[in-house]
């Protein structure tokens, strides 16, 4: 049965994605309303400037719209799927060089670089979740956390990280895997304790 557009805001993300795949602009707008902020935040965290972050977010959402990319439930939530697309776009941008050239100048700057901005209530609520995950991340051994952040947020390849940290590639790969395993356990314990809801 076709979905009534006036009811669209009551739809679950998975149903919204079906309408986006059918070329419904109102569904696309809703998808952006729900996940545009998180997407921009991730892009900004990775590239460190607003203009490039806007570029990446726009490219990611237009790729969803134009190619009718099909959401695969097996890959996780719609939010995870959208953020994965944004992450890939940001890595592409980082590896094209311009941003990395600046980041190489100071590795310390890679890990935290935010402009001071006013926060909205929505941002504050989402930052609660961010703090919870951040706590789990911070509980990792320093070398594992640093390796994960250089890979995921700064977009460096394992061989680049090995060069930057002057460590063997095997060590870097091992830290990534061990760090993710420990993070998984931290998050599971947090869920069990109600800390990562």
């Amino acid at each position: 049965m076709p979905v009534v557009v006036s009811d669209i805001r009551n739809l679950a993300d998975e149903e919204v994605m079906q309408l986006v795949g059918d070329g419904n602009p109102r569904a696309f707008e809703l998808l952006y309303d729900r996940h545009g902020g998180a997407s921009f935040s991730l892009a900004y965290r990775m590239v460190g400037n607003r203009v490039t972050a806007e570029d990446i977010t726009q490219e990611a959402f237009l790729s969803i719209w134009r190619s009718r990319l099909r959401y695969d439930r097996a890959r996780g939530s719609v939010r995870t799927w959208v953020l994965g697309i944004v992450h890939n776009r940001a890595i592409d941008a980082l590896r094209r060089g311009a941003v990395h050239d600046r980041r190489r100048e100071t590795l310390e700057g890679v890990e935290e670089r935010h402009e001071a901005r006013e926060r909205t209530e929505v941002e504050a609520a989402r930052n609660e979740e961010a703090r919870s995950v951040r706590t789990a991340l911070d509980a990792l051994p320093e070398e594992q956390r640093r390796t994960i952040e250089l890979a995921y947020f700064a977009g460096f390849s394992h061989s680049q990280i090995a060069e930057l940290l002057d460590e063997p590639i095997g060590t870097v790969k091992g830290r990534m895997r061990l760090g993710l395993d420990k993070l998984r356990r931290q998050l599971s314990e947090g869920h069990a304790a109600g800390g990562f809801a």
Binding site: G23, N24, P25, F28, E29, Y32, G36, G37, A38, S39, F40, S41, L42, R50, V51, T52, E54, D55, T57, Q58, E59, L62, W65, G76, V86, H87, D92, A93, R96, G97, A98, H114, R117, V122, E123, R126, E129, A130, V133, R134, A136, L137, I148, A151, Y152, F153, G155, S157, H158, I161, G170, G174, R175, M176, R177, L180, D181, L183, R184, L187
Partner: protein, 236 residues
């Protein structure tokens, strides 16, 4: 598959999930994973940890102009797909008033006078109303293109540049906007156009005191400075 191969690939599970493999390495890993249930299981076991990482980011509000620009493109393309308007048509008041003054652009960004530019101001609204400014295009390079800039307020809230009839670019190319202010060229976002050459991009910079908004063709990812003379310009 040998045990040695598996051990080598199993070490790459973390790098794979973190996006730290090269494209070739990803292809090799996925080929291996297709035949290796152990690596598949390990990827799925660790995937929730990798998927949690974007949620560790400080949450910011995206600029409103970003949504406006996105929806401009989406609405336009939806209309093109269906052949009918997906929203009520907006009819801006238009007072066609040709601008006769020649456009002077600083330094190396002077646009060729022989290029046949035409420029017009489409509307002059009340001070706080959005203003729509027509773009002049280099007809020798983009003969079918047109563009207009919708400036919010006095330009201190940014603007939306909408283009039509722009030619398709090579896969490694992208259009990039620029703001010209007092001889300095400030990079703005890049953008793509749809199959029919239509597109839009938000100009986040404060345009108060700026002289022009420009567009060039650049390598995907954008440039810090223009690598060609502008193909499109809007005088503010």
């Amino acid at each position: 598959m040998s045990a040695r191969d598996h051990a080598a690939y199993q070490d790459e599970v973390g790098a794979y999930l973190l996006g730290a493999l090269t494209d070739l390495e990803v292809q090799a890993f996925e080929r291996h994973m297709a035949h290796c249930p152990n690596c598949r299981d390990e990827v799925e076991r660790l995937r929730p940890a990798a998927d949690s990482l974007p949620r560790a980011v400080e949450q910011l509000e995206a600029p409103p102009t970003l949504k406006t620009a996105l929806m401009e493109v989406v609405e336009q393309e939806a209309e093109e797909r269906t052949g009918e308007s997906a929203r009520p048509a907006r009819r801006p008041r238009r007072r066609f008033m040709p601008l006769l003054r020649p456009v002077l652009v600083a330094g190396a960004l002077v646009l060729g006078a022989a290029a046949g530019f035409g420029v017009a101001r489409l509307s002059e609204e009340e001070p706080q109303e959005p203003r729509t400014l027509a773009a002049k295009v280099d007809q020798s390079r983009i003969p079918d293109a047109s563009g207009r800039l919708v400036v919010q307020g006095q330009g201190d809230n940014g603007a939306i540049l909408r283009v039509q009839g722009m030619p398709s670019l090579q896969p490694d190319q992208v259009y990039q906007a620029w703001v010209l202010r007092d001889g300095a060229i400030v990079p703005q976002p890049t953008f793509d156009v749809g199959d029919t050459g239509g597109g839009a991009v938000a100009i986040p910079d404060n345009l108060s005191g700026a002289q022009e908004v420009l567009v060039t063709r650049e390598r995907r990812g954008g440039a810090r400075a223009p690598t060609e003379e502008p193909i499109l310009a809007v005088r503010l």
